[in-house]
Symmetry: C2
Subunit: 298 residues, 2 copies
């Protein structure tokens, strides 16, 4: 399916190590089990061992990250971004010379910078499957989570064609669509379509909470519009703090531009300038409808 050269170890014969069996890691495990030699899952808490085995997202589950990483042909790091930064530094050098390291973190510039600093023998590439949920953890994981989603790849200068070939095999296997982006470009784009919407949703909920202080009925009248607009505000805060703090510049720039758009709406509404308000809102409605059409086709 790809035009890349063969990987050194094809996926079907690879030992895949997934460090972290939360939403992303466990979902990947479900999809890769039976499609590679074996999936070894690494968890941090002893009580997570049985749950992960029982769920069936890995062939083996261990607490020993170092041993697992050293045994892997493909090592996938699945954790919040700042945990990833520590894991890249701590576990990256333990990969065997033909082992490949990829992460599934939500921001890419800091991650790829940490990967660049790894010993020269380590093959590494940044990754970000664009399929969130507001729920996290093993319980939220499911087979097929990545189906049809965009899987961003940020190759390093050192990333070889053989590494890219194995990664593309993995992406084929989970039915995602690969998209190669520079790390900084990735971070700018996700600030717009993911991190800003999170803060907007959080700001909306904060406003409704303020209204509820004097009139709790506001929660009762909230319907599907509020439900969808605010959904991502329920996301895991620790994960989001990692994202926001490792993508601060791009997020602040997105917030500033967004605020300027809101200010145009505000001015037109304050002046009861219907024509101006319509001229602002019609292209927005058209663009949103067009995007939906493209997504349905895509």
């Amino acid at each position: 399916m790809t035009s890349h050269p063969s990987p050194i170890t094809p996926l079907s014969q690879a030992t895949v190590v997934i460090v972290g069996l939360g939403l992303m890691g466990a979902s990947l495990g479900y999809d890769l089990r039976g499609r590679c030699r074996r999936v070894i899952g690494v968890v941090r808490r002893p009580e997570a061992l049985d749950a992960a085995l029982a769920a069936g997202c890995a062939d083996e589950v261990t607490l020993d990250a170092a041993a697992a990483v050293a045994a892997g042909d493909l090592v996938v790091l699945a954790a919040p971004v700042r945990t990833l930064l520590r894991q890249i530094t701590g576990l990256g050098p333990l990969l065997r010379p033909d082992g490949i390291l990829i992460d599934m973190g939500s921001t890419k510039a800091a991650i790829c910078q940490a990967m660049e600093a790894l010993p020269a023998h380590v093959q590494a590439i940044g990754g970000h499957p664009m399929c969130g949920k507001e729920k996290s953890g093993l319980e939220a994981a499911e087979p097929g989570l990545f189906r049809g989603c965009t899987f961003v790849l940020c190759p390093l200068p050192r990333t070889t064609p053989a590494t890219l070939a194995l990664i593309h095999e993995m992406i084929d296997c989970i039915a995602a669509r690969p998209l190669v982006l520079e790390p900084e470009r990735h971070d700018r784009l996700v600030a717009a379509i993911s991190h800003l919407p999170y803060l907007n949703a959080a700001g909306l909920v904060a406003h409704v909470m303020a209204v509820a202080e004097t009139d709790p009925t506001v929660w009762e009248v909230a319907a599907s519009g509020f439900r969808d607009s605010s959904r991502v505000a329920a996301s895991d805060v620790t994960m989001l703090l990692d994202i926001l703090l490792t993508n601060r510049t791009a997020v602040l720039a997105a917030m500033a531009d967004y605020e300027s758009r809101m200010d145009l709406f505000r001015q037109a509404l304050a002046q009861e300038d219907e024509a101006a308000l319509r001229a602002l809102l019609e292209p927005v409605a058209a663009a949103r409808r067009e995007w939906q059409q493209l997504k349905v086709k895509g």
Copy 2:
């Protein structure tokens, strides 16, 4: 099911006239057909007659609003708010003495004010079923649209118990939940949970459009978070202009409070104050999860 006295004409014997067979009007027609004597739908364009009859949302469909309104035991106005204001003034006086007028408009203060100005014989009450879709029109209408949704009622000082009884019968029939609110209170609450989210979504899409000017790939990476956060930005602009312009004061106040919340996020992020950011975001995530739980139970 209700503790109200009997209506003068019970729903089962009532002629229900629905003026406007868009999303709301036609959906109501589907649910009421067979549960009342007959449903007469009123449309504006001749070419809509056949489509409405074929869809089956009314027993009869006519262009003659005046004649239909005069024949109705219950007259339901289903149109954008500023059209409603004209219809209340133009059609309201044509109701027969025991006829009842209700609207399904998205803002209530201006509507109820117009209803107050009707001749003393007209029984009228403001209504707002809280179940939108970003799609509008007959094609988007469906049986069961109102099931489980909150149906806000704004009785006027003149509204009699018998009128309320018939309206409660109608709300029982479509399986909605009635909620009585003062018009101004309704408008303040929906500014928070509906009109502000619309502007937020529009501002988000406007920002993404600006990013797309130099990097159209942004549309490609947009995933479920963007999809849900921006969904209502695709709403019918004409309908929204009516809403925003008839609820201007409450919407501007909501925007100002929202902006102050966003500013707290912005400051904490700019200062890399993780503790402050967490203290702002954790209660928001908890409140959103709690609301979801309540909705699932409710």
